[in-house]
């Protein structure tokens, strides 16, 4: 009898206590990370008067006024569109470069695997703004300053190492004999890559694209340093509601929510792929 109690306390798969704790813990973490989003959402739905109330109101009359205001706000719409373009170019560029690079690293006996690791750590460790300072004058000189392409190009410094690292761990899962079989059938490296490797790792491609898109979409520091007006991104657009002497909280929070939505939709749509992709090999790698 005693034995039984002890066993139950430790909890095998599916048994009570430890699983309950796991739920409580996970639930708390989810609440903790979602609370700011909830807060921003409620402010964006409040009228100007409710929004400034202190202490904050928990119950209020929701209004869409702030969202309607965005619709006629030219700067916000413009920066939103800029972000769409820059993210598309940035993601396309990152995959176009990372796919062949990862293949070369994994299957072409090129020493450089370790370098990608170092590059990855550096890119994550160093603050983005560090890259901006030396690039500022170069960009002005080459005409890349305040352009969509210029920004998308600069973002590669950060997204490429992760992309190459992820894709090479997906590619490494593929049996090398498949390459050899294709080579004997007459395929070139490029044909092997486009006809076999890429189709075989589509979930991984999707996961990489989504991660890059989210990072590029949310980036602020580089955009601040390398754009002025033409190529300003949505993260800068959101701050445009901060006037010289006043702050339009309602519009700004509404803008934040709208700015989150595309990435949210993107992530939800690709969620299956992301989980599948990330558990495909990257974790093992």
């Amino acid at each position: 009898m005693k034995m039984r109690t002890v066993l139950q306390f430790h909890g095998g798969p599916g048994t009570g206590l430890s699983q309950a704790w796991a739920y409580v813990f996970t639930g708390a973490m989810v609440l903790f990370s979602l609370f700011p989003v909830y807060w921003v959402l409620t402010v964006s739905l409040k009228s100007r008067r409710d929004g400034l109330a202190s202490p904050p109101l928990w119950i209020f009359d929701p209004t869409t006024a702030n969202y309607l205001k965005l619709w006629s706000h030219e700067t916000f719409k413009y920066t939103f569109l800029n972000s769409v373009i820059i993210t598309a170019i940035g993601v396309a560029l990152s995959l176009a470069i990372a796919i062949p690079t990862a293949y070369a690293i994994v299957r072409m006996k090129i020493r450089g695997r370790n370098l990608v690791g170092v590059w990855l750590i550096l890119a994550y460790m160093l603050p983005e703004f560090l890259f901006v300072i030396p690039m500022f004058s170069l960009y002005q000189w080459t005409g890349l300053y305040d352009t969509h392409v210029g920004l998308a190009l600069m973002y590669q410094v950060h997204v490429l190492p992760l992309s190459i690292w992820l894709l090479s761990s997906f590619f490494r899962e593929i049996n090398p004999a498949i390459d050899e079989a294709a080579r004997i059938e007459g395929a070139s490296n490029w044909q092997i890559l486009t006809r076999i490797y890429v189709p075989c790792t589509l979930p991984g491609m999707a996961a990489t694209a989504v991660l890059n898109a989210i990072w590029i979409w949310n980036e602020l520091a580089i955009a601040l340093g390398l754009t002025f007006s033409k190529a300003q991104t949505v993260t800068l657009g959101v701050t445009s509601f901060r006037g010289y002497a006043s702050l339009d909280w309602g519009a700004m929070t509404a803008a934040s929510i709208v700015a989150i939505v595309p990435m949210l939709l993107f992530a939800v749509a690709a969620q299956k792929h992301i989980v599948k992709g990330l558990s495909l090999g990257a974790v093992k790698g």
Partner: protein
């Protein structure tokens, strides 16, 4: 159809030489089996023919032309891998036609060739499937189909049956032999299984530690092994190999080469009791009996402590027990003599 010739070929990985002084001639249309224990460089040899491994020194000739620096595609050769290496994202149809499509064959020909190969191999119903929806045997057939559809100058096989269960292996053994005989395409087939080698090969090259120990037709390897390695490797259960003195005792002196040589006698050439044509070699005690139904293997030790295996018909069941002592004889015309230091066959 072209012939393949290795001329004094060596292969090293870094400082480690895994093949040296390889001379091997595969005739046009021949089914050549490379057999040997794991790690003896069979695959490396095959992959050098395919162009998947570089050749460190020496020449590889395909159809009389030096092929050392040709890419795999330029060699017009097909290969079947142990893992099948089917393209996972493609249907059976696309797997079969991959090589033709890469080589820009016109679509009508591709279509008819797929039908032809699918008919030959009974793949008609599977054309729309992906590789993960195939059984081992089916995947194996697709791999064969992919190899034959281009009508290559040579087929290369690297242990293609190792992943199949015993029954299927026997069946596919027959099918591959049959296919090769019909197409008469030059074939090099690698296996570690001597039964596969004996049943499939026109000729067999036995390899050990990166060297060829003997090349010959199956009966030649069985009847006249060139050295103790081949003698022990070909034939199952393996040949009894022992000192002349241990096998024959004092009678050793009366046999040619008897003194100081290693004698070989296959388990099927040792006889129990005084049979006609047998030369008595004394008594031996039965340690263990392996009854396989149609035959039985007796493991014995003789008066000089030497271990012997005897193969008899299954009819012996019930008449012999472990612990008993039997008198043994052998067929003198079936004795093999080897130099006991070099292991080479003595004439």
């Amino acid at each position: 159809m072209r012939d393949i010739r290795f001329l004094d070929v060596a292969k090293s990985y870094g400082d480690v030489e895994v093949i040296s002084g390889l001379d091997l001639y595969v005739r046009e249309g021949e089914f050549m089996v490379l057999v040997g224990p794991s790690g003896c460089a069979k695959s490396t040899t095959l992959r050098m023919i395919a162009g998947l491994e570089t050749i460190s020194s020496g020449d590889l000739m395909i159809g009389g032309e030096r092929a050392n620096h040709l890419s795999p595609a330029q060699r017009n050769i097909s290969m079947v891998f142990q893992s099948y290496a089917l393209f996972p994202n493609m249907t059976v149809r696309d797997n079969l036609s991959f090589g033709l499509r890469i080589r820009k064959t016109d679509p009508a020909t591709v279509k008819s060739e797929v039908v032809r190969v699918a008919d030959t191999l009974g793949l008609g119903d599977l054309l729309g499937r992906k590789p993960r929806q195939l059984s081992g045997g089916q995947a194996q057939r697709v791999a064969l189909g992919r190899a034959m559809i281009r009508r290559p100058d040579a087929f290369l096989f690297d242990e293609p049956l190792s992943n199949l269960d015993a029954e299927l292996r026997v069946q596919m053994r027959g099918e591959i032999s049959e296919m090769q005989r019909q197409l008469t395409t030059t074939t090099v087939y690698v296996t570690h299984d001597q039964v596969e080698a004996m049943t499939m090969g026109d000729r067999i090259a036995v390899m050990n530690q990166g060297r060829i120990m003997q090349i010959g037709v199956p009966t030649e390897l069985y009847e006249q092994p060139a050295n103790t390695f081949v003698a022990g490797f070909i034939g199952s259960p393996r040949m009894n190999l022992l000192d002349a003195k241990d096998l024959l005792g004092d009678a050793a002196a009366t046999v040619a080469h008897g003194r100081g040589s290693t004698l070989g006698i296959r388990p099927e050439h040792l006889l129990i009791g005084l049979t006609e044509g047998g030369v008595p070699i004394g008594a031996a005690r039965v340690n263990r009996i392996e009854d396989l139904g149609h035959e039985a293997l007796l493991h014995l030790s003789n008066a000089r402590g030497a271990h012997l295996t005897v193969r008899t018909s299954g009819d012996i069941r019930g008449t012999v027990r472990a612990g008993e002592t039997l008198s043994l004889a052998l067929r003198p015309d079936r004795l093999h003599f080897f130099d006991s230091t070099t292991g080479e066959r003595l004439p």
